[in-house]
């Protein structure tokens, strides 16, 4: 619902004081969403996927930057590999790599720590911390509690809620 994918039954969501429904395009520019699925096309290479994702976000990215980012995210040199041949963890890293490319102020991440090793979790936590430090917002769902550089977070514990 936050992203505008599901319809709102009642109430409203506001971004910067204006209802989301009234400023769809502007809101989307500021939003980055990653759900359970990686949004990676299995038959295409890693670079192709990254370039396409950036395009969907309205950004053109140079090949050189893609290569650098791959190294930074621990999947260096795999630009030309077809996504199908990557491991789950590697796919997840590539999916999260797009965070660095995005200029979005609001990050909505659904279970981003799943299928990640410790190094990966650390990397993501740093990324989020940096984002928050530069004034960004992040809404993250997780079964693990992860330290985000000591920045205080509002935590909603849903385990106690009963679903209807």
């Amino acid at each position: 619902m936050l992203c505008g994918l599901a319809a709102i039954e009642s109430g409203d969501i506001c971004w910067k004081g204006v209802s989301v429904r009234a400023q769809v395009e502007a809101f989307r520019r500021e939003l980055f969403y990653l759900g359970h699925l990686n949004a990676l096309q299995e038959s295409m290479t890693v670079s192709e996927n990254i370039v396409f994702s950036a395009a969907l976000g309205g950004l053109a990215v140079a090949q050189r930057d893609v290569a650098e980012l791959l190294v930074q995210f621990g999947v260096g040199g795999r630009g030309g590999q077809v996504v199908r041949h990557l491991s789950q963890g590697q796919k997840r890293r590539v999916a999260l790599l797009r965070l660095a490319l995005s200029r979005a102020r609001l990050w909505v991440l659904d279970e981003p720590f799943v299928a990640m090793d410790d190094a990966g979790i650390r990397m993501l936590a740093n990324l989020v911390a940096k984002h928050l430090n530069t004034g960004g917002l992040a809404v993250i769902t997780s079964h693990q509690s992860v330290d985000m550089g000591g920045i205080p977070a509002q935590i909603l514990d849903l385990s106690a809620c009963a679903c209807q």
Partner: protein
């Protein structure tokens, strides 16, 4: 982590990127592009086998048979229009893209036409010869298919969006959109027949063009609504 050299991308570039992606994906799985084409040829060949080789009869039947076969073949590849993107999460990202989903859908439909409709248009004359159509009739046939198959892709995208992730999607999709295909069929096959009867194909072809223009506007709208419903 730098967000350094990324520049803004214009809408046209994004749509072009979508088109390129669809085409390159299809090129990597050539079988998926060729199968409907082969299907077209096989079905068109079934009719003479079922009805008899009498040339006058075949000539009379040719426009209808070829159009029905083209229609069915065009429908075959529709299910894959959104299903892969839906299952790997790309469709969600498209729905959240800064480019409106309707335009992205339009780009995908154009790609579908290029990959499934256009091959049919190119192969149809060969089949037409098998049925004994002369050059003039072949020309009208090609023109009618050229105008009609994009409409088929557009209307088909609505069905593909409605049946995303649904049980028995393939057959259901056919059931849903075949009634909607009927006007295109009537005017398409009718164009060739009208020309053969000396009445001129102009009227039929203009109607086909009109249908195309109407679908260009309305089909992406309906498809977007259907996609959003499937993504909820």
């Amino acid at each position: 982590m730098r967000v350094s050299m990324s520049q803004e991308m214009g809408t046209t570039s994004v749509l072009w990127a979508v088109l390129q992606r669809e085409v390159s994906l299809a090129m990597r799985q050539k079988g998926e592009v060729l199968t409907p084409l082969v299907f077209f040829v096989v079905i068109a060949s079934l009719f003479p086998l079922g009805i008899g080789p009498e040339s006058a009869l075949l000539l009379r039947m040719a426009p209808g048979v070829l159009w029905v076969s083209a229609l069915l073949a065009a429908m075959l590849s529709l299910q894959r229009l959104f299903s892969t993107d839906y299952s790997d999460g790309t469709l969600e990202q498209m729905a959240l893209s800064t480019t409106p989903l309707g335009l992205l859908v339009l780009a995908k439909s154009v790609a579908h036409f290029l990959l499934s409709g256009l091959p049919l248009v190119l192969v149809a004359p060969v089949l037409g010869l098998q049925f004994g159509l002369d050059e003039r009739a072949l020309g009208v046939l090609v023109a009618s298919l050229l105008l009609g198959t994009p409409t088929l892709s557009l209307i088909g995208s609505i069905g593909a969006a409605l049946t995303l992730g649904v049980r028995g999607a393939g057959v259901l999709l056919s059931l849903l959109i075949l009634p909607l295909y009927i006007p295109v069929l009537i005017f398409g096959a009718g164009a060739v027949e009208a020309d053969a009867a000396g009445l001129g194909a102009g009227g039929h072809l203009s109607l086909l063009a009109a249908l195309l223009v109407v679908s260009l506007f309305f089909a992406p709208l309906a498809t977007t609504a259907a996609l959003k419903i499937s993504l909820e």
